[in-house]
């Protein structure tokens, strides 16, 4: 099959799966997940073929696979949409296809396929377990998710949005994919809609990202009005970029390029949960864990970073925009890491960690480290998906323990209820350890080390000491809270009965863990810097060459420097060691010195937003819009219409309808006819010969009249 056609087809299988499940197979759980996983498998296959073929093309950056069709007529020209696979798309497609497929497979086990239906499970609530009779005594086992098919339909639609976004060759279809994912994110966070917290989280996520999306749409509209096109390869030629740089926008002395870059970046701030729009991501953990792994770690939030990377040629035109990007990224990286230290919910730690790592990428982009940003985007997608799936596996194991003891007050997500899971769940432990070490940047072996080291080296090498320092501290805290998490969850002795009875999850959940941990380690090896001592040059720095080819000017290779390398070694190993030392003996939140209210409550951001934005808006909506405008003005006007119309109607009735129409025309014509009939009835004798005579007389009279008056 031609590569271009294949690229068009990549997004389609999951959306077909969505429609098939929704329309036909939603009654059958097995059929639904077969279709969904099959769809993901087809997309994965297509992506891999495209990826391999892209590898075989020399100078893919200058001669990408592209194909487009005219879509919307715009006066004399057409707005074209199409697909584009350049090096950036190819590597993104690679990690998206892998993580999506793994997470689809994982979902089968996570939602307890093959288990009996729950004793009293409801649609919209997580399954509560089922009682089975085995060898004469009763057991409580996990029960299957009541809305199993719906879940697979939603994630199918989501995968469609993500693939569309990745293969788009223009900002508009990218935005379409972007919004489809926003919808799916809302639907899936609120998947267990019976829980009020899940409902609130879904609305919060949707509203918060919407703020970013509005700005992004403004940016797209502005870009179109300046350049007349939204296709990437048309925008990124020197002439148009020069125009963008020289046209003033009229806002704060920004050039058009600067303002557009800023607006598009605000879209990313919403989607990738950067400060100050980060508040939705931790709450989004209300959704099922595969959703957290896919949408809120590996793909959708990565799509935000992907969009800025995509628009890098525009954003990099304006130094102030770049400074904003770098500042937001670095600040978010540190800020979210400090919150993660004080969280006890295993998924919330990962959520803040995701925000922090996305900050790393944004900061890298802000200092112009294009390849490093892409590199970290990919490695992060692998190890963070791995960590989320691992945490899902842990929660699943803990829920097993909760079902065993029957004590539903124990929170299976609280890390202080765990401990000692290493021996109970060995596969989960080892893969989680690999993911955690990759996240911390454990030297040399893990992928996270190479990508994070490259960001630090770029920050140092390009002369951004402040950002370098911020990111180094953030990296230290990352290693620290990761080790805290591993220690509290897996090491030591079980702290609860539930943790004692936890056990390993089924193969559908552990296989994705193993495959993702393979990538979490090996993917780093394709991007080892050439000048790295000892290891440099053993494996060619393929990623730099390949991804760098996306840009018109190939980014130069950085000279090796010992300072960033030693820094990243020290922060990673130091953070991990300190995390282990501090938390190996901690058994309850009370013993944890870092449970500071300020950090634990996320710097009170939710409360501040509630006071500053939500309360005034609610007050405005309630009093001004509802009571004054709606009830007073609008309803007042409407209520005037009723009496006015009735008055007019009464007037017409009393002065026109009754006297004129009824009396004069209606009754009057009847009266006249009655009177006339009364007079005429004398001649109605019923005698035929009288009628004849009368007719003859009239005939003669008429004839005579005609004869004498007309003819004579």
């Amino acid at each position: 099959m031609r590569t271009e056609l294949l690229i068009w087809l990549i997004p389609l299988p999951p959306v077909l799966a969505f429609f098939l499940i929704v329309i036909f197979t939603n009654k059958s759980k097995a059929l639904s997940h077969t279709i969904a996983v099959g769809g993901a498998l087809l997309s994965w296959l297509g992506s891999m073929i495209v990826f391999v073929r892209a590898l075989g093309v020399e100078h893919l950056g200058e001669h990408p696979f592209e194909s487009s069709i005219p879509w919307l007529p715009t006066g004399d020209t057409w707005f074209r949409i199409g697909v584009l696979v350049d090096p950036l798309t190819a590597v993104t497609l690679f990690f998206v296809a892998w993580t999506v497929l793994m997470i689809f497979l994982y979902s089968v086990g996570y939602h307890n396929f093959g288990q009996p239906a729950g004793d009293h499970d409801h649609a919209g609530l997580p399954p509560h377990g089922a009682t089975v009779d085995e060898h004469g005594h009763k057991h409580v086992v996990p029960s299957i998710e009541p809305m199993y098919s719906r879940f697979f339909a939603f994630i199918g639609l989501f995968a469609f949005g993500m693939f569309t976004l990745v293969v788009s060759d223009n900002l508009l279809t990218l935005f379409v994919g972007w919004e489809i994912m926003g919808l799916c994110s809302y639907l899936l966070i609120g998947f267990w809609y019976g829980k009020p917290s899940a409902r609130d989280a879904a609305v919060k996520a949707f509203m918060t990202t919407r703020i970013g999306d509005v700005f992004m749409l403004l940016g797209i509209a502005y870009l179109y009005s300046v350049t007349g096109t939204l296709t990437f390869r048309e925008i990124f030629n020197e002439e148009i970029l020069h125009t963008l740089q020289s046209v003033p926008s009229g806002v704060l002395n920004f050039s058009a390029a600067g303002l557009i870059g800023l607006l598009l970046f605000i879209g990313t701030v919403g989607k990738s949960a950067q400060f100050p729009l980060h508040v939705w991501l931790p709450d989004a953990m209300e959704g099922p864990t595969p959703v957290s792994a896919m949408i809120h770690a590996a793909t959708m939030v990565s799509a935000g970073v992907y969009a800025v990377i995509r628009m890098f040629p525009i954003i990099s035109l304006d130094e102030r925009t770049m400074a904003v990007v770098a500042f937001i990224g670095a600040f978010t990286a540190l800020f979210a890491a400090t919150i993660a230290v004080a969280q006890n919910d295993i998924k919330r730690v990962l959520a803040y960690s995701t925000i922090s790592q996305l900050g790393f990428m944004i900061a890298a982009l802000g200092i112009g480290a294009y390849v490093a940003a892409v590199f970290h985007l990919i490695t992060h997608a692998f190890f963070k998906a791995l960590l989320f799936l691992g945490s899902g596996s842990v929660i699943h194991g803990m829920e097993h323990g909760v079902l065993h003891t029957g004590d539903h007050k124990v929170d299976p997500q609280d890390m202080f209820n765990m401990g000692g899971l290493k021996s109970k769940m060995p596969i989960t432990f080892w893969t989680f350890l690999i993911g955690g070490f990759a996240l911390s940047g454990f030297p040399l072996i893990t992928a996270g080390f190479w990508s994070k080291d490259e960001i630090l080296a770029d920050a140092f090498g390009h002369g951004h000491p402040l950002i370098f320092a911020t990111l180094a501290i953030a990296a230290f805290m990352t290693a620290f809270y990761t080790m805290r998490q591993i220690t509290l969850t897996f090491l030591g002795e079980p702290r609860t009965k539930e943790a004692e009875h936890a056990h390993e999850t089924p193969w559908t959940m552990t296989t994705p863990l193993v495959i993702l941990s393979f990538f979490a380690v090996t993917y780093g090896w394709v991007g080892i810097p050439e000048h790295f001592p000892l290891l440099g040059g053993l494996v060619p720095n393929w990623l730099h060459e390949f991804v760098g080819g996306t840009l018109a000017e190939h980014p130069e290779t950085l000279e090796f420097n010992w300072i960033p390398l030693l820094t990243s070694l020290i922060v990673a190993l130091g953070g991990l060691t300190l995390g282990y030392i501090v938390y190996r003996d901690v058994n309850s939140p009370a013993e944890d010195k870092l449970q500071i209210g300020f950090l634990k409550n996320k710097y009170y951001f939710d409360e501040i937003y509630a006071v500053v934005f939500i309360k005034p808006i609610t007050w405005f909506a309630e009093n001004i819009v509802y009571k004054f405008l709606d009830q007073g003005v609008i309803d007042g006007i409407l209520h005037l219409f009723g009496p006015a119309t009735q008055g007019l109607g009464d007037t017409v009735r009393n002065y026109f309808d009754l006297p004129v129409i009824n009396r004069f025309f209606g009754d009057g014509s009847a009266d006249v006819t009655y009177w006339f009939g009364g007079k005429l009835r004398a001649i109605q004798t019923g005698r035929i010969q009288q009628y004849f005579t009368l007719a003859l007389i009239v005939f003669i009279a008429l004839g005579a009249a005609l004869y004498f008056l007309v003819l004579a």
Partner: protein
């Protein structure tokens, strides 16, 4: 040859006799007979005008034949009505059949 006016005078006389019969006779059957006379007066006119006009144009004759047919149909319906009235009311006097008055 007899002039056309003779035929017309004859036809007018016949028509007037028929009209007098229709208006003056009390018996319904006799009224019908009067109507027949009036129709045939018309037929005499038609035949006479044909004969004294363009002989090749046979519209006059055809019209006369149509009148015969209509007259026959009319008489059959009219007599049937008269018989029906007689059976119900035992009379054929036109003045006594006055159900259609006010």
């Amino acid at each position: 040859m007899v002039p056309l006016s003779w035929y017309l005078i004859f036809s007018a006389a016949l028509f007037s006799i028929g009209l007098f019969g229709v208006l003056s006779r009390r018996n319904a059957v006799a009224i019908l007979l009067g109507i027949e006379l009036m129709l045939n007066a018309v037929n005499v006119n038609l035949a006479a005008f044909w004969r004294y006009g363009d002989v090749a144009d046979i519209a006059g004759q055809v019209f006369a034949i149509i009148v015969f047919a209509v007259a026959a149909a009319e008489v059959s319906v009219g007599l049937a009505l008269v018989i029906s009235v007689y059976r119900r009311r035992n009379t054929v006097i036109a003045d006594e059949i006055d159900l259609m008055k006010w």
